[in-house]
Point group: C2
Chain length 356, copies 2
Amino acid sequence: MRKSVARELYTAGKLCVAAAGILATSTASANDDLMNAARRIFKPIPSVVPEMKDNPITHEKVTLGKSLFFDPRLSASEVISCNTCHNLGTGGVDAGPLSVGHRWQLGSRRAPTVYNAVFNVAQFWDGRAADLKTQAAGPIQSSKEMNSTPAHVLNTLSSMNDYVVMFNKAFPNDAAPLTFENFAKAIEAFETTLITPAAAFDRYLEGDAHALSDQQKAGLKLFIEKGCSSCHNGINVGGQDYFPFGVMERPAASLLPRDDKGRFTVTGVPGDEYVFRSAPLRNVALRSPYFHSGQVWSLKQAVGVMGEIQLGVKLNDTEKDDIVAFLNSLTGQLPKIDYPILPARTEKTPKPSVDK
Amino acid sequence: MRKSVARELYTAGKLCVAAAGILATSTASANDDLMNAARRIFKPIPSVVPEMKDNPITHEKVTLGKSLFFDPRLSASEVISCNTCHNLGTGGVDAGPLSVGHRWQLGSRRAPTVYNAVFNVAQFWDGRAADLKTQAAGPIQSSKEMNSTPAHVLNTLSSMNDYVVMFNKAFPNDAAPLTFENFAKAIEAFETTLITPAAAFDRYLEGDAHALSDQQKAGLKLFIEKGCSSCHNGINVGGQDYFPFGVMERPAASLLPRDDKGRFTVTGVPGDEYVFRSAPLRNVALRSPYFHSGQVWSLKQAVGVMGEIQLGVKLNDTEKDDIVAFLNSLTGQLPKIDYPILPARTEKTPKPSVDK
């Protein structure tokens, strides 16, 4: 679904139930129809790392980016790394609901996953970063998160010769490879490798009708017919466009804190108040708690809430179970990560600042 | 050196310069003499994982222990894991000087490394834990560190079926495999694999006279002759016995905080005030800042301080450089660690408590 179409649909005050009715319900070809409908709405995760238009992905850049991603010394306290909140061992997120940052300050929204983030239309819940390298430059400078500065990052990295060598290899055509921009590009390169192909749903989209159980197929059918896929579609089953949180019904204040205006703070457009990027649902079963406020711990409950506030539909117990079964088919194969041995600090490495 | 001998030596108020004089200085056999002296004092890191007398090391137990080591959900906040302070990417320690724990509280001593910890006589700076499994049960329950409880640990682990299966496989003969004791045993099993063989110094001890440079050999000779090896000996070049911090001269208050009585709090023996386990020096070049107070960031400066306060010797610049060169030969091969994909939390998993 193209952005403009999606926008019109929710502006009309009601989400598109675009696919409803296209599925035969009682014929012998029902299964084929379901697979064909799914193929029009979703795409499988590719098995190869996607290309970045302005940031060629090389082995050297990915290796460097992995070290940077795991290096806590880039934060002011030298305690917090990207992996602290985007833990690759727990679905690319932390325990939540909100992330714990510098001096134990809490973030304002649930950490989004880095897995498959490359397939999102933009980064952050409000899409304020156009791409992963722009995103990577954000939390490291946030006073509530890593509380660092480009100067601290560059002083830290340049103090360790192994890092200097890694930057030279990763950016061989640059006159001055060690820059904050290249730091962000290397992290982007690593994050493009954080894709999780070969979920049961991917195998289904690729033609294996037996990859999903009957219950998962029933859940997929409901997911399309009830209208979930109007917002949650594409490669990431979400993450492709922006929608109001609470189309049909105002969410409880616990789910939508009143002071979080969503995309409005990015665009300044009044209609964008409480608008968020639809959550990408790949590996969603690994990533409770749910929503940008992280206040719902049960996937079944989250499905129920979405039905009510976004679609005006009260799903029954069986329907919710079926949809959850389908969502479980979105859990893919997480990449194998060798934990990086980081360059040793030197006497020139800036000291940690735990109480700045 | 046996414990009782070492104890008598420092009780006499002066550290043994036991090996001084045993080394020929101007004969053709000087190199042989140095290697033979070194072999009497030190031992190479074995290339196989050591056996634990009451905790057989199995692949299943190590795999489980690795997941536990990296799992932040075992802490009250679900933010802090063993690896937070004993970061395997940075020499098995954090940035220091003191560790940041629950609610950003600071610990009271520099985090000791987990690498080669299995070869220490006991664990912690004051040796209050006899072994690694006793150690593993400590920080997780400390209100300043992980602030957890055995109940939180067991409720968390039993809420995830994959963990239950892993405990069953790791402890196949136990009627109830998932216990806090077995949690600690599994971490001990993993930590026994954290050994770093094949340092240049190991190859030297194994007979390769060319494994050390001339400067490193000069440093080794000084290390023995000046008396450093009286406390820093054995497999870990330290970690084998307890000694007062400040034998010849009182360290500055910044290096020895007055309220830290060291081993006295373990034994209650007045003579144990300001007594600490000698620091194991394996991979020491990876682990600044130094001393239990973590206040010295330069290895060369640390060598100078040790000479003055422990040996009453003012080392000159060349001597310090030579000893640092030798200490650099203690950096071994760190094991390759696959970052574990942890079991996904369920609705039964206890919620994080960030402000308890």
